[in-house]
């Protein structure tokens, strides 16, 4: 048997990047009429992928005007906020990659037109809770044009138990109201003391928590004092008030080995049960993740640092997984996103990937128990 020389084959991602570049190159040479045609084509392609609300990249929204028109159309009296999450920054002299990725997310969000009402930072700004890491993160996030709401993650916390983070960003647990929606920000990554008995230094404690698969640490929990605060915070609200909760860890029990888990999740869910519609937005899992428990809809957030694989067990049946990230495409599976809040408090969740098409999980998908508006299934699932 004779072997022929293997022909030069362009990789999937090379072809994708080339096509994308060709599109943008073409845009520079268009007259207005042709430009509209191309832009509409791009919008159509995104719509075909199940995306209905204004997306971040792909369409050059800042110059086309189409993004603006669409935003007004889909507004229906609701509003939109954006998010950036899980940047895991090291100090500048240690790792430039994660810094550049956070800068990219900030540029992305700042380019949104119209601007979101506010931007949520979803926690894990730092990798090892260092002063330098949190400070450079704060410096980069100062560039965000829209008002910024901060949430804390375990990587920000366990070196000095939140001291530096609080100095830079204020309280870790708070609530606010925006256009009729009640927002609650929780510190859901409390761990029971595993370090004192082992005589760990603060850095050893931090490194232990920083290892996702390190079993020496304790499971995350909101904790009794904060649950008491939450109960009081919610007491004054009527049952038809839309409530949106931000927590770094998912407020349910998915996979304990990686702390995709909140130990007192049921107790927190019980406090939220009296409302018609509750949405929980969480970080930590670095992936597309959807779940619904009764009246509570759950959505994950993308990371700007690295994607996590899906847990080998315990996956919520409503989650349509994102394709397995391609290691040869350095920023694949990463991005930021936004949330369109409807007047009834239900949300459409947009995952705005940097290097692939956006993915949207609509309110109707979770509300219908997955029967309506399912996002496209992945071809290369996690395994």
């Amino acid at each position: 048997m004779k072997f022929k020389r293997i022909p030069h084959i362009k990789s999937v991602e090379t072809r994708f990047v080339e096509q994308r570049q060709a599109l943008f190159d073409d845009l520079r040479h268009l007259d207005r009429r042709q430009f509209m045609k191309v832009s509409l084509g791009a919008a159509g392609a995104a719509a075909a992928a199940g995306v209905t609300h204004p997306f971040h990249s792909f369409l050059p929204v800042d110059i086309s005007g189409i993004g603006r028109a669409q935003a007004a159309e889909s507004a229906d009296g609701g509003f939109r906020f954006a998010y950036i999450s899980d940047s895991h920054l090291y100090a500048r002299n240690i790792n430039d990659r994660f810094l550049r990725q956070l800068l990219r997310a900030v540029d992305d969000i700042n380019a949104l037109d119209p601007q979101p009402d506010f931007v949520l930072y979803g926690g894990d700004l730092a990798q090892l809770g260092q002063k330098e890491e949190l400070e450079i993160g704060a410096q980069i996030l100062k560039e965000v044009k829209a008002p910024l709401r901060m949430m804390v993650g375990e990587h920000d916390w366990y070196l000095d138990m939140g001291e530096k983070w609080r100095e830079l960003f204020g309280r870790e647990t708070y609530s606010f109201d925006h256009k009729g929606v009640h927002f609650v920000v929780l510190m859901s990554v409390n761990e029971k003391d595993f370090w004192s008995a082992r005589g760990m230094t603060p850095m050893e404690r931090m490194s232990t928590v920083a290892g996702l698969d390190n079993a020496v640490q304790s499971p995350f929990e909101v904790g009794a004092p904060q649950r008491q605060w939450l109960k009081q915070d919610l007491a004054k609200l009527s049952r038809d008030t839309p409530v949106v909760v931000f927590s770094h860890s998912p407020l349910y029990k998915l996979y304990k080995t990686w702390n995709f888990w909140t130990d007192d999740a049921e107790d927190v869910q019980a406090l939220l049960q009296k409302f018609d519609h509750v949405t929980v937005l969480h970080g930590h899992t670095h992936q597309v993740l959807s779940n619904r428990i009764g009246n509570i809809h759950f959505h994950g957030m993308l990371s700007t640092a690295w994607p996590w694989p899906y847990a080998p067990e315990g996956m919520p049946p409503l989650t349509v997984q994102m394709n397995r990230p391609n290691p040869f495409d350095p920023n694949d599976g990463l991005g930021d996103g936004s949330v369109q809040v409807h007047p009834d408090g239900l949300v459409d969740k947009l995952y705005s990937f940097w290097n692939r098409n956006p993915m949207q999980v609509q309110a109707s998908y979770l509300a219908s128990g997955g029967r309506k508006d399912a996002p496209p299934r992945p071809l290369a699932a996690s395994y």
Binding site: I6, I94, Q127, L212, V216, P312, P327
Partner: protein, 224 residues
Amino acid sequence: MRMSIIFGALLLVAPLAFAGDGNSADTPQQSPLGVDDRIDVLLCDNETKVSIARNDSPTRESGQQVSDALMAQWKAKHPQQDWVEIENEKHDVVPPADNSGLVGNGQGSTYGRVTAQDVATWERETYKFAVRGSEVFHSGDELGSSIAVSCDMCHPRAANTHPETYPKFQEQLGKVALLRDMINWCIEHPVRGEKLAQDDPKLRALEAYILAQRKGKTLEYGKH
């Protein structure tokens, strides 16, 4: 699963505690109280020593106390010796296959004659190899990362490494890749370190750990 390599050595030493006349000690102990009916018990390293009062009615418990005292001293002198336990407590490495069913004479051939000690040795050594891989896998320093990145950041417990799918053609590498080629690619690119030689103990250990974590998965070479 817990390892007890050192303790085995100690059990051999423990009976010395009952030797009685102190003739087993190399040098007679001059106790501070001037009482000389004390016995020195030496560990097999010929250095670690416990001095005990003469005991005419030794019990299992008194022997155990001597063993424990020696063990505590030895551990204090060799803090790294528990590395398998320490690493395993963090990352719970999947244990190797159980070969205890092979113990016995079988049909009398050489290969069919396996002792419990053989099986214990296979298991212990194989497991140590995989656990060593877990240490490297979880350490940016051991991997030589210039940006403090380690394998577990994208692959907790080696998830999404699917070693059972190699060899397979990777257009990005322009060739059919083995698991070790992908490990080295990851070390050079996301981890930003120097790639390892094919026989580097760290590369071998990484391969062992990744395979260990996927124990029981069906081989499907060529799968993308």
